[in-house]
Subunit: 139 residues, 4 copies
């Protein structure tokens, strides 16, 4: 398992007239969560695209909304990989408010596409190698 | 069953550097789909909030991405209610490209909240009455 | 002079907690306005990029906010070219509410960049030829 | 004069198919810049709205685009007040890339509206008092 947490402050332009973080913006918070997780491994999503020629389009997105988020709250986005990625990579997401209550939970599944050929490929070794130490099975 | 279709043209600012409609914007397309469905019933979501004092926060969102959408494509958003809403209302969503291929499918479940008391309520009768004719059971 | 009008309905996700169309979204309405103007000429911005290899990055943006726009209002975006473009093209923008009152006015200046060389170029002839009939001087 | 700097990392969903930070998102970066400036004074824009009952709608926005920003760049947003606000408050904005080059410059002018009466008011004293020490004239 590999888990990473990052913080995002809700912007005014992300609220709606209900006074809540608009439900459509959680997908972008998920994006920031997984980008920061990848950075925490010593890689970057940007380098995956630019240097390794791999894009990661989203296949499925699932979320449940538990508590609303408000303007200026600094929420914690926790991103978890429960298993080593193979053809797909699934990020499990939780968003917590400032007192640690769950606001939103979900998951997002992506695949890997080689930019050059526009074909799906398995998890690039550059990413897999960074993750393996966190998923070693007991002897 | 009740189904409604509306069209949305993909804006430049909604694309990302992959050249696709960013995955986070589909939630807004879903929002437009259900708002236009409600309008097709002779109501409006705006009137539900302003005149009837009812907000509809989202509880769950699920989507799968089948084909990417591109800038300037005019996509068709099909919104379907498969059953009469009670405590919750679930909109089933499909987005098609200009040649009728499915690009995205999903569902979004919302509840009803009375603005005044900030408490969940059952489906407002103003909405239920509009929907009933489409869900009458055979004798 | 060449003028074109298009309509946009304010989405829920575009409002903020003040209950207004968030000020940051007007730039996207301007984008839709100029794209629809170009379409009205028998061209499309998409074709300019894909077929003619020309991008149009924005150089300056100016706007004044006169009246707020609200959720579900169908606003009219009026886009005007006051002169034939040369090195730059300046779109003059006005946004009106449903009773014809001005909500927002401004202008946006763009240049033309050849995708291949990433260099600025003069107005592509394909666009200029469409515009000339509207700017012919009297004999 | 009062100046404050804050950093923002460009999100994937904020890029467009040109591969640049979409021009419409700079307004939100400006919003973050002024919110963080206000926080640096020991206040918060949120408290201004919630506790002091004051909203700050935008009156004018001007920006020029000097260099494009790209995905994952951490830009610096510098927000400057050149004079004490009275009826209006004007934030002068500069956005720099990671090597200190100017990417975008502009200004945004806002007024103060009392939520209760929906009328414009002068700069609230709670804000003015925080700013005065930075604008004292020499004896």
């Amino acid at each position: 398992m590999y888990t990473h947490e990052t913080k995002i402050r809700v912007r005014y332009g992300e609220t709606d007239q209900m006074g809540y973080l608009y439900y459509g913006h959680y997908a972008q918070y998920y994006e920031v969560g997984r980008a920061e997780m990848i950075r925490s491994l010593g890689l970057s999503y940007r380098a995956l695209e630019e240097e390794h020629g791999v894009m990661m389009p989203v296949m499925t997105l699932n979320m449940r909304f538990v508590r609303p988020a408000h303007y200026d709250e600094e929420v914690t986005v926790r991103t978890t990989l429960r298993e080593l990625p193979s053809t797909f990579i699934t990020f499990h997401m939780e968003i917590f408010n400032e007192v640690g209550k769950l606001m939103n939970g979900g998951s997002v599944k992506l695949c890997f596409v080689e930019v050059k050929s526009n074909k799906t490929i398995a998890t690039p070794s550059v990413l897999l190698d960074c993750l393996k130490p966190y998923f070693t099975s007991p002897a």
